[in-house]
Subunit: 352 residues, 2 copies
DNA sequence: TTGTACGCGTTATCAT
DNA sequence: ATGATAACGCGTACAA
């Protein structure tokens, strides 16, 4: 076959082609393809058939060019460790985001930031009109990310309170919308529960100081226990091992402690191991409360862990909804939306 | 300057604006912004300054419209379970893909297929010119996905041999490019190693039949041990528990077995637990070999596991490279590329 | 080397 | 209700 440019190049039909086939104008086809309002039924039907026959699919770029909407949202993951993918927290959040995005006919563009060296690339991408908005999952200290994102002027929502957003209430830095659970309230509830159980010396295994969730939970603990001495608080790294170590430290410092609130379930699991190793009974000798209610952790723990549940998938969903609201309010002079704080609930099981 | 167009709508500068500021034509600016070839240095410098001052960023949609290239690649994850995100295999593959894509200045658009109901949406998206190509991560039986993707005529590469691609060699179904490790060869090497150790009754814990990697590894086992009876083979589900159960079955059937090759590390871990529970020594009584060399599993195992290593991140990278090659070869009449099979290597540790 | 002019496929604004 | 037609922002033959 000497001639035959085709091969893979089967050119996609355009609006023009559909119009020709249906015997109408491009404008009419466009109307049918979109809302479809203001077109007489028989004509619309003819157009639909032409679309079907030709297998017409709107050209995304052309549409974006004129509407100035890409129908895509960036999800920025600022985490050098690829282990993030093994983090069930992250997985659930992404799942919520993905599902809600689908419901809004939007696509998810994954932007993985492995280090500051990627910042420029990200900024350029965000500024290039590829996406309508951005969702930033900031687990650890986000560094300059919030600033970078803000500079792009792109509507964006953070997952978890960024360190740059004031500790609470009216933010000090430029307000940045975010979705987070009520870390402080959840912690308070956990500690109050321990108090209601009659526990007198309640310790806290805190998370790393570069994560606001850890800070807020520690705040909640202190709020519920204003008189707790600092020797009742140990810092972990949100890992099982660090929880075990912290528990050991606490027991060394305060052998009389009779309860502990760990800032997450993994550390609670570690604490449980230490307690068992030291021959202490849970909850008889020491009551234990965790935070997260992560199935993957809770399911393998004995005794069943009393913990504070947060709905992570829902938080992912809410991030998308908040962003969508911001998108529709663009240029309407609407103020930066308030953070969305989702409720937590204490789940009573056997450990406290 | 009374005019200023400020407000929130700070319109992004266009090529036109840069040209005006630099005192050149749009075409020249375009040349500088892209390749930059064929522009006298002083002029180019002037243009670059204008770009800088105005903070110009090329409009993606406009560029795509004319070049017919979106600079984005879809990664299709056909896996209803969101647990996939917890799978270290998946995480590593995504990491490799993400990195190589970045190196090619391409973006990663995540398409999560939770069920057949999503197929139409995916097909439409793939056909809409949003992306230049697709990468499909097919862990389990991919069902109709390969067919759907093929129908879009979009260049695409599969991660792992799809069930629809013949067992090996010249594929029966329409050739679909994929990247996979040498499952069969790796399995053969594992078994031969056990043979070289003098083991006489070597069992196999196979993976689920709906995953080609499991089938290929089982084939490798049989190739090395043509005379092995079927009572030496048990089927697991690539999970630790299933591995433990399979090991128990095997021991019941053949108390004389002195070695076992598990189709992945997780099942090997389960097997190890069963062996320990039955008071059998590893490797003294029973030698064990796994497959994958997944750090998260291997690191917590005792004794250190002898296993077959595959470089998953590299496989992700290769998927991208293969796809990029296909993209550049479009319309050049190039045939569908052969599958890329990456080598495996036996890692000797203490268990065999 | 640089500039001119056209086309990419849509949507939106007008007439009709 | 429908149809011309002008943007949208850019790349690129082609001309200069």
């Amino acid at each position: 076959m000497p001639e035959q440019t085709p091969g893979s190049g089967t050119a996609r039909p355009t609006l023009e082609a559909v119009a020709a086939r249906a015997g109408v104008s491009r404008a009419t086809v466009s109307r049918v393809v979109n809302g479809g309002a203001g077109v007489r039924e028989p004509v619309a039907e003819k157009v639909r058939r032409a679309v079907e026959e030709l297998g017409y699919v709107p050209n995304h770029a052309a549409r974006t060019l004129v509407t100035r909407r890409s129908g895509a949202i960036a999800v920025i993951i600022a985490e050098p460790e690829f282990r993030i993918f093994s983090d069930p927290f992250f997985a659930q959040q992404i799942r919520g985001i993905s599902r809600e995005l689908t419901a809004h006919d939007s696509q998810l563009v994954l932007l993985w930031v492995e280090g500051p060296g990627d910042y420029e690339r990200i900024a350029r991408y965000l500024g290039g009109g590829h996406v309508d908005g951005a969702l930033a999952l900031s687990l650890h200290d986000d560094g300059e990310l919030p600033a970078i994102v803000a500079r792009t002027k792109l509507p964006s929502v953070f997952g978890g309170r960024p360190v740059t957003a004031g500790p609470e209430g009216p933010p000090a830095a430029p307000a940045v919308p975010y979705v987070d659970c009520d870390n402080r309230g959840g912690a308070r509830a956990a500690v109050r529960h321990l108090v209601s159980l009659g526990r007198k010396n309640i310790a806290h295994i805190a998370g790393p100081r570069d994560q606001t969730s850890a800070l807020d939970r520690a705040d909640g603990y202190r709020e519920a226990l204003p008189d707790a001495g600092s020797e009742l608080i140990a810092e972990g790294a949100f890992t099982e091992e660090s929880g075990a170590r912290a528990m050991a430290d606490l027991l060394d410092r305060r052998p009389d402690l009779d309860a502990v609130f760990a800032a997450n379930d993994l550390m609670a699991a570690g604490a449980l191991a230490t307690l068992r190793a030291r021959g202490l009974r849970v909850p008889r000798d020491v009551a234990v409360v965790g935070f997260d209610d992560m199935a993957s952790v809770v399911d393998r723990i004995d005794p069943p862990l009393t913990t504070v549940r947060q709905d992570v998938e829902e938080m992912g969903r809410l991030m998308v909804r908040l962003l969508m609201r911001m998108l529709s309010e663009r240029d309407s002079g609407a103020p930066v939306p308030e953070p969305v704080i989702t409720p937590t609930v204490l789940v009573r099981r056997a450990s406290a």
